[in-house]
Symmetry: C2
Subunit: 416 residues, 2 copies
């Protein structure tokens, strides 16, 4: 990464003096402990009621109680330690009471490890004309059957409790982009009032956590105000929301540069809904610990493979006779057992095994990428490692011509 | 099963005196060896270039180089020892030359075990208006893109050789049903001429085999004529074709009763495209060794589960809150790890994991069913075992009311 601005160094120094110790939380076992730093980047371990998570970490998205096209064993085989569930989708189907009666989301989806649930705010806001916002919450119609529902901070938190989420997210409004400065400020302040109500509604249990969500659009001042409001409430972790919604990577990184150093250094930091492999490399360097994104699984369903040599579209005719693996550096089922030609054939023939194999591959690539970044932080050579990773993406492009898709070309939508 | 007709007993006696020994084939290692008999039913082991297969056996259908919605490891996990490929589908996409250049179908689909390929006859015939038949072969248009192709016995066998099929099927005309006696006779005799040409075109290799296919509709005399013609040519195994095309189970079993005893007792017998669990139980009792059918995988994709207690439709609302497994007697991923309620949710939500889990379950059920039949033959209590299996299907219906689907309600189409 390029040279960090001076405030990053001072933030790092401030974090270093704070010792990165496990927070002495009120009697519960949830906590994040740093094990190494490299610039602003951190390697650590998050302790939860459902097992530990090494950070930085990428969390596969299991919106409706399944990481799409993968068995739970398949997800585990990639090295993933924590997955996401979604309050909006699960409240509509099968319903939080049903999941609770069946023993919670962990048992339901065969994932005894940690689960983080999104609060539903992002999904409800993206319903557009189907929802109306008021100071107390949001009324909306289901995208499935048009039935009327309501989410408030209290209801979102109760649902996440019923699902038995290891990490509950505060209910917020994901500020639309673009928006006027006044809209951004009003939206952020509403989210901060909702964060307070979310925290009040949260039932603390040992090893469980709630994260607050920083809003404020691309305005550094509003972001700082949001961080201060959340820190005053106090959460086990802090998320940065409202990014990767169209502002572009440069703007997103600028917001991170202004926001991450303000977050408490002894709590995990989660950048929501991000992103491309390059986004992850850039954000880890800025001190982010946790990520989620539908990109690897969605790309896998549409024949796009993330690899150590860049992004491939396996529907492309140049793979039709290629006996080589998708990525020689990868240990997933597709790469150990099958040729690019076979994957190409499966996608051309519309066979379900194509999405199955490539979803596993992409999640594995993301896990391997994060493990590589973590190990580089521990070694203290993150900058050189990141440069080497990026150089290999570029070399892959040169070797394979312009048919290579640019990283990040996939549309981003956190619904599916 | 009900009392066998007298000719079945005499055929069994004749088979017993022949010793069920491995055939002394012309220098190759392919062979079938009986290990036990019970009435007309046989347990045995088929030896092939790609490993042994215990019979009776059910072969999952991997039409386009993949058993739909399953990884090769998943197929293996069910206990399956041999799978099918399809000449028609693979010749159109990705093409036999490409599969050959990539090391053959075994490597292509990660199935080092035995593979049997259908000859394409059945699929071409079912194209209807898209194909024209002449004495030499069939000209047809691809169902994919309308492109014109031709299959002859010689071309079908060459394609199966290029695919590296362990067991090559003779190219035949699957006689339409219903048809006049004259049509059935003419069709069968054409298939017998094509069987002779298929055999001529076959390149013998150690451990590889070619099977002839008995035709003749529901006419016992024509079936006998067909068997005699095939035995005069000589094959490593014999298939019964042209059944399960609409004639109903009673008529199918009547044809088996008239045909199976005429087949050489020292060669494997394969009933093509069959069938329901009940069809398998009834046909094993009549001396059939091998089966294939799309039913378990197709049913799995449409939420239908075959179980020891009958057939379930998991989309049915009565499963929505059911914490129990699909089948308590089953060791598949779905039954070990998930509730019926979860499967119900996955199908309602249109999640790919539903078809994935239930395809594995159904293939596992078929494998367990066949293993049970085989062990009963070895113990010598097939009739009692089969009666117990059927009684449990019936008991399942009684326990769960009329919402249970009757076995065999799924449409049968060997294309997909």
């Amino acid at each position: 990464m390029s040279a960090a601005p001076s405030w990053a160094a001072s933030a790092a120094a401030s974090a270093a003096t704070s010792g990165l110790a496990v927070p002495a939380a009120s009697g519960d076992a949830f906590g994040w402990k740093g094990v190494a730093r490299d610039g602003a980047a951190r390697a650590g371990v998050m302790r939860t009621a459902h097992g530990p998570v090494a950070t930085p970490v990428f969390m596969p998205v299991g919106t409706a109680g399944t990481v799409k096209a993968m068995t739970a064993d398949g997800v585990r085989s990639t090295g993933a330690a924590i997955v996401l569930g979604n309050t909006y989708h699960l409240m509509l189907r099968p319903g939080p009471e049903r999941v609770q009666a069946l023993g919670g989301l962990h048992r339901f989806m065969d994932w005894p490890g940690p689960i983080l649930t999104d609060s539903g705010g992002f999904q409800v806001m993206s319903l557009g004309a189907l929802r109306t916002l008021d100071a107390d919450g949001v009324t909306f119609r289901s995208h499935l059957d048009g039935s009327k529902h309501r989410l408030t901070p209290e209801r979102s938190i109760r649902i996440q409790h019923a699902l038995d989420a290891t990490i509950t997210m505060a209910f917020d409004e994901c500020t639309p982009y673009p928006a006027t400065p006044e809209q951004v400020a009003a939206s952020m302040r509403l989210s901060m009032r909702w964060a307070e109500r979310s925290r009040q509604a949260f039932v603390a249990r040992a090893g469980y956590a709630m994260f607050g969500i920083v809003q404020g659009g691309t305005d550094a001042g509003l972001r700082a105000e949001s961080v201060a409001a959340l820190r005053a409430i106090g959460f086990e972790g802090y998320a940065v929301g409202g990014l990767a919604v169209g502002e572009g990577q440069a703007e997103m990184l600028r917001v991170l540069d202004a926001t991450v150093p303000l977050l408490p250094p002894d709590r995990p930091r989660y950048l929501m809904g991000v992103g491309t492999p390059d986004d992850l490399v850039a954000s880890v360097a800025r001190g982010v610990d946790m990520f989620d994104c539908v990109m690897p699984t969605r790309a896998g369903r549409t024949a796009r493979a993330y690899t150590s040599r860049g992004v491939l579209n396996l529907r492309n005719a140049r793979h039709a006779g290629d006996p080589g693996p998708v990525d020689a550096a990868c240990g997933c089922t597709a790469c150990r057992r099958h040729s690019r030609a076979y994957l190409h054939h499966l996608f051309r023939a519309g066979e379900m095994l194509g999405p199955m194999l490539l979803s596993e591959h992409n999640i594995r690539y993301y896990q391997d990428l994060m493990r590589g970044l973590r190990e580089a932080i521990v070694r203290g050579d993150l900058e050189a490692h990141s440069a080497a990773v990026r150089a290999e993406w570029e070399a892959g492009k040169e070797g394979q011509g312009s048919a290579l898709d640019p990283p990040g070309a996939a549309p981003l939508d956190r619904h599916t």
